[in-house]
Subunit: 409 residues, 2 copies
């Protein structure tokens, strides 16, 4: 054990969140640093899913809807304080890209304009969906540089721009934007601001209302540990809710769902952004994941997240450079909960890491992402990952792997 490991053990011993790790199923098969792609299973989720299936579905059958009908609102209310929103502004429903589509169409229509600004490094679905929306509106998608700033928004905004949409934390770099400044720049340009919180919710402090944000979407299967493909959330600021009309006007969004009315009258609250029946078993996964996060609180999570990523950056600095470029910003204010390194052999290196028991995430063409999930990631794991990375590079054992493209969600 080197000095890095010693320090890691000391940090783990002093970690106030150490006990939270016990709330997750962990078998130490490997060092898991991909919670920014799929979070771990909370133990409570097992019993909750069993109960929703074997007690509620099996025995209450259709009467189970007495528990399930408002589940998206109930979970949204639980999530709201974690993202700086009011309970009435958040709902769980559909998948992230579908929610992005609903809110972006509604927001752009409301603006009366045609163009949308996003950035080159935004997640593909966001770029694709926003591009199709701008195009359908007769406008265009304007691309800011990756990890954009308020100044980028100011220099690109025209009077045609009705919507600005970025990821608060970049999925590639792990960089965190200055959300308040960017939102202000969007507003100064007369545009609405739509945040994608996929890599933020449960990972970093989010203050939607303090930022002045109009719209947001995000997923629950990364840092919120909701399970594979667990449903997404959406946020609409209170003042805008009744101003917006989303394009998929399903019965759940009607002001009187069970009236089976002739005409669509949108609900006067956040329900108007819900379309149809949600997938209940996956929904309760999101509920349990959010519950653990809410109980711990974002302040403690952020403190440990920064300590973990600081520690890992320091560990990277103690090894030979190995041809890596650290692309995650060093400043605390500019960093999410993931560290990304760039290397031309990134794909083969990630395979070698996996074989050696460390699970990072690879993103084409050359990025290796290490996700740090404060609820269950230990400093010991961070130290071990750094050791293994150093060994894989020094031994060049990654050259044993074929250089084909790989990807996971």
């Amino acid at each position: 054990m080197g000095p890095l490991t010693d320090r890691a053990l000391a940090l783990d011993a002093a970690d106030p969140l150490a006990k939270v790790r016990e709330r997750f199923v962990i078998n130490d098969e490997f060092v898991y640093l991909d919670g920014n792609s799929l979070g771990r299973l909370p133990k409570a989720t097992i019993e909750r899913m069993r109960s929703v299936v074997e007690d509620e579905w099996a025995h209450e059958l259709v009467l189970g809807w007495s528990h399930w009908l408002d589940i998206g609102l109930d979970i949204g209310a639980k999530l709201a304080p974690l993202i700086g929103a009011a309970a009435s502004e958040v709902v769980l429903c559909d998948q992230t890209s579908v929610n992005l589509y609903k809110l972006a169409v509604a927001g752009l229509r409301h603006s009366g304009r045609t163009d949308i600004i996003t950035d080159e490094g935004n997640f593909p679905s966001d770029r694709f969906v926003l591009g199709a929306i701008a195009s359908a509106a007769g406008g265009r998608l304007i691309l800011a540089p990756e990890d954009p700033t308020a100044a980028d928004v100011r220099s690109l905004a025209t009077t045609n721009v009705g919507l600005v949409s970025f990821s608060h934390v970049g999925y590639r770099s792990g960089a965190m934007l200055n959300a308040a400044a960017v939102t202000q720049a969007a507003h100064d340009a007369g545009a609405l601001m739509l945040w994608d919180l996929a890599h933020s919710a449960g990972a970093v402090p989010v203050e939607l209302n303090a930022w002045g944000a109009d719209l947001a979407v995000g997923c629950t299967y990364k840092y919120l540990n909701g399970g594979p493909g667990a449903p997404a959330f959406l946020f609409v600021s209170e003042a805008l809710i009744t101003e917006l009309e989303q394009p998929m006007s399903g019965w759940y969004g009607h002001e009187d769902q069970f009236a089976m009315a002739a005409k669509f009258i949108p609900a006067g609250d956040i329900r108007r952004f819900v379309v149809g029946t949600p997938p209940i078993v996956s929904m309760v996964g999101a509920d349990e994941g959010i519950r653990v996060t809410a109980e711990v609180g974002m302040a403690a999570i952020r403190t440990k997240s920064l300590a973990l990523t600081d520690f890992f950056i320091e560990a990277l600095g103690t090894m030979p450079q190995h041809g890596f470029t650290l692309i995650t910003p060093g400043g605390h204010e500019e960093r999410g909960s993931q560290i990304t390194i760039q290397h031309p052999e990134g794909y083969r290196i990630s395979l070698a890491l996996r074989k050696a028991g460390v699970i990072p995430d690879f993103r084409a063409p050359d990025l290796i992402r290490f996700g740090f999930t404060p609820l269950y990631t230990t400093f010991g794991e961070a130290a071990q990952a750094a050791d293994v990375l150093d060994r894989v590079m020094s031994s060049r054992e990654y050259e044993d792997f074929e250089a084909i493209r790989m990807g996971v969600t």
Copy 2:
């Protein structure tokens, strides 16, 4: 026991599907005739969901995507023969209304026209979503009478109509349309035909390709027993797949999902209609429900469905009229797997039935629906439901309930 019950017992004894009931969790708490809203829990689903959570998610974590990435295509291929489609034409993803939106927008754009025909009795989400799409296209939604015919399509179609969309089996009446004739009428008008199979899939024979259908959507939580809110399916006929561009261009629909490409290039197959990451735990529920249905086969299911509904209609005929109107058509070719009766006191009657242990479904303002799910509904249950209905009406015990509106999905 009256002669009705005797006959029911004899029919159950001779029922070739009697053993299939044992594949579901059934505790005889009540006579469940609401499988047309939420189907029962297959026993195999319990272990499958446990395994996907406790084996795959917990221990494989992100590597579980090796099982999950194509799950929508895999389940679609399993469902395809049950709806008369090729495996390459069907995929599971999102919820029914979201899929309806994707296909209706794509279909209407492809037609180059602006108007859509649906019917007054179609499910609210369908009417609402289609209305919003026509309106956004600068056109209008034209309403045929409830339970429409090919003649209705012919009389309403104009050269502006680009899409016709009906439910194959009406959620109110349980009437089944002549799908081949209606599809032909839509095509004769130069329009595409989009079927909603929510009350058809797993309930009645569906022959999408034999009908010449262009597009279809449907849900898996009714007769397919996929669990509350289990994800929906969509169908696009082979020749149209690469002709259509759906509006929500997420990364799952890209021809090379993990390339994280700059530009959206839609997949050359049914994947182009998928948006993002599916809710895996709910997806495997759909998979298991479809598996049971596929193993039994639609021919046997239809035979028993007609026998059950014939029996229940006959039972209704043996009791005093009680002020009911039977609104489900009598002819086999015009009937789904549900019997609907209309009564001004329908809401209170449905509450009284529930209290007496019979679970039907109420739809505002005055319809009581009895769903017959051949995989697990017995003739004995049909007889018991008829007996209880007769008693509730004769005793007027429904008058004990408050006349407020009720609804379940």
